[in-house]
């Protein structure tokens, strides 16, 4: 189906329907709600969309209230409402379209166009499925050709021009009359009666489903549990996948990605009134793998932001640590130096994130330390960095961290935690902080450059080992 959007209603006779349309869509995927679930803050999203979102952030995308997957509740009636509206939508759109209904009814079309412009008086004859008449080679809908045009054409008569409304009214009378006359259209009618074409889609009575088929509302299926992968061996992970009839090939991170995606697909599928089979879910999973870069051939420094490194993947085991270190070497240097400065001034600064993660190890290092202890301590540091949430990492390692570091340097000179400073200061003063920071940090950077470089080297060694 071509993708649709609420603004399509703006050109109809009822532009306000765009609101009705818009309200039935998920704010995350902008498509119609699929298996709608409601949060504890009473906002509604597609089950899959919100579950995906909650894997990384535990809040409602709309109001930011704290939110957990376990609180999501299915809204059965909304699902039925949405699918009802979706089924009616194309018809409603064409009925309310301004140019069609407004003009065509007012002025009768010129007789020449009568065969070409067939009115869609029933579901099957709509759409551009025009065929050519084998006799006069005019194009029209197959149904019109079979039911009336062909008779006239074969008899050498001209089909009487009928206004569309008239055609609609006299349709039944006319076809019975033609049957008596024994036109060729009988052939098609007979065939149709003998072998009724199956309905293209199973008609769902949403009203009956909601009110009368209550027993179908709940599925006796247990949700898949979340897995704590850190406590499982690869063999155990494969066993779990095998139990779900999932593929077990691929690297460990791929196995985990595969389970997590299936977990999402499976649990959101249960929120549907008419869930898909597990086989379909597995097919969806395969499709997802094809489009997910975690499953494409590993490239050095594969990314999400074009040439930028993927900060989120820092928690992945196959993260391109070498490229990452290379890219953020300078930031690291600045941060290390900031951390040292802060640590020297104040031993415990609990809120300062950069120093909190790197200071304990890095500052206790003395030049005379043995390599093994250095290695060990830097491993701890790396692990700590990896443990950080993606959000903090972004703050630390993305471009604005430069500025943060500067602010930190400046504020540490004043013995003040840096965000307290930026938060409470007037614009002018915080600017002064920023301004002063530059020369200070430049000086400090030179001094600590060498030590930091050694550390980076150790980082990469220990990570690659």
């Amino acid at each position: 189906m071509a993708s649709s959007d609420p603004s399509e209603w703006l050109q109809t006779r009822l532009p306000k329907l765009s609101q009705l349309d818009s309200l039935q869509r998920c704010l995350i995927c902008k498509d119609f709600l699929k298996a709608p679930v409601i949060t504890s803050c009473n906002h509604t999203f597609c089950s899959l969309c919100i579950r995906q979102h909650l894997q990384s952030v535990s809040n409602c995308p709309l109001c930011k209230a704290e939110q957990f997957e376990s609180n999501l509740k299915r809204v059965i009636i909304l699902e039925e409402l949405v699918s009802c509206f979706r089924e009616l939508r194309p018809q409603l759109l064409s009925l309310l379209a301004l140019q069609d209904s407004g003009e065509a009814v007012m002025e009768p079309p010129p007789p020449k166009d009568i065969e070409v412009v067939e009115i869609s008086d029933d579901d099957t004859s709509k759409g551009p499925d025009l065929v050519q008449c084998p006799v006069c080679s005019k194009s029209m809908s197959a149904k019109h050709l079979q039911q009336s045009h062909l008779d006239y054409c074969l008899r050498g008569e001209v089909e009487p021009p009928a206004a569309s409304a008239l055609l609609k009214l006299t349709r039944s009378a006319k076809s019975s009359a033609e049957r008596k006359r024994g036109g060729i259209s009988l052939f098609f009618l007979a065939q149709k009666r003998a072998r009724p074409s199956p309905p293209p889609k199973e008609e769902i009575n949403h009203e009956a489903f909601y009110f009368n088929e209550v027993h179908k509302h709940h599925h006796e299926v247990k949700r898949l549990p979340k897995i704590d992968f850190s406590s499982l061996s690869t063999v155990k992970v494969k066993e779990k996948l095998l139990n779900l009839k999932l593929l077990t090939q691929g690297t460990r991170p791929q196995l985990e990605l595969r389970y997590n995606q299936f977990y999402l697909l499976y649990n959101s599928n249960i929120d549907l009134s008419r869930p898909a089979s597990e086989l379909e879910l597995r097919q969806k999973l395969n499709q997802w793998e094809k489009s997910h870069q975690g499953f494409s051939a590993p490239k050095a420094g594969s990314t999400i932001y074009g040439d930028e490194l993927k900060y989120k993947a820092l928690t992945d085991k196959d993260f391109p640590i070498r490229g990452w270190l290379k890219k953020y070497r300078e930031e690291f240097t600045t941060l290390t130096q900031t951390a040292r400065a802060t640590h020297a001034k104040k031993k415990a600064s609990a809120i300062d994130v950069p120093s909190g993660t790197t200071t304990p190890e890095s500052t206790t290092q003395s030049p005379g330390m043995t390599t093994s202890t250095q290695l060990q301590s830097s491993t701890v540091a790396v692990n700590e960095v990896i443990e950080l949430s993606s959000h903090e990492l972004e703050k630390q390692f993305f471009p604005d961290s430069k500025q943060d570091a500067n602010v930190a340097a400046a504020s540490s000179a004043d013995e003040k935690p840096h965000f307290a400073a930026t938060e409470s200061l007037s614009p002018a003063r915080s600017l002064a902080y920023l301004g002063n920071a530059a020369p200070d940090s430049a000086l400090q950077r030179e001094g600590s450059q060498k030590i930091a470089e050694e550390e980076l080297y150790d980082f990469s060694n220990s990570m690659l080992a």
Partner: protein, 168 residues
């Protein structure tokens, strides 16, 4: 053909909607048909600001997990503005990943959330052009210039605007 991911579907939708109903002073769309993850944008400088009458080009790069993660917006060529880094990257709260800010610096409701859209991003960028926020400066030199010597700041911006239009 590869199956369309959620991100691609959503980007396509946003593009269709933008094409139908474009906010004034903003043009945006994917660079090519086969890559929906990179968009070209043209922004008109807001009135009564030094950016007035300028048309500025910016590139939006979307992550593959869009809309769960925010895109990156970069002015090309870079623009002199307190909240735009020297390389052109825009620094506004709406483009920062969701969740709690450890610094308590930006309120969570100002940050990225999947309910935001390209249109909202571009509208916030236009209003950022009109009202710089020197409290969270990205370009320190621009911050200082904006604060200490507004005339010189405006002059430099005018020069950039003319250059961007190929008039200088």
């Amino acid at each position: 053909m590869k199956p369309r991911s959620t991100a691609q579907k959503r980007l396509l939708k946003e593009y269709q909607q933008l094409a139908r109903d474009l906010p004034p002073g903003i043009v945006a769309g994917p660079i090519s048909d086969d890559n929906l993850f990179e968009w070209d944008c043209l922004l008109e400088g807001p009135e009564d600001t030094p950016y007035e009458n300028g048309v500025f080009r910016a590139v939006l790069k979307f992550p593959t997990d869009y809309p769960l993660s925010p895109p990156l917006l970069t002015f090309d060529p870079p623009l002199l503005h307190p909240n735009i880094y020297e390389d052109g990257t825009v620094c506004i709260s709406i483009l920062h990943p969701p969740g709690e800010d450890p610094n308590q610096y930006e309120r969570p409701e100002e940050r990225w959330s999947p309910i935001q859209s390209v249109e909202k991003i571009l509208l916030s960028v236009v209003s950022m052009l009109a009202e710089p926020n020197p409290e969270s400066g990205a370009n320190i030199d621009a911050c200082k210039l904006w604060r200490d010597d507004r005339d010189a700041f405006c002059r430099q911006v005018r020069v950039q605007a003319l250059k961007a239009l190929g008039l200088l």
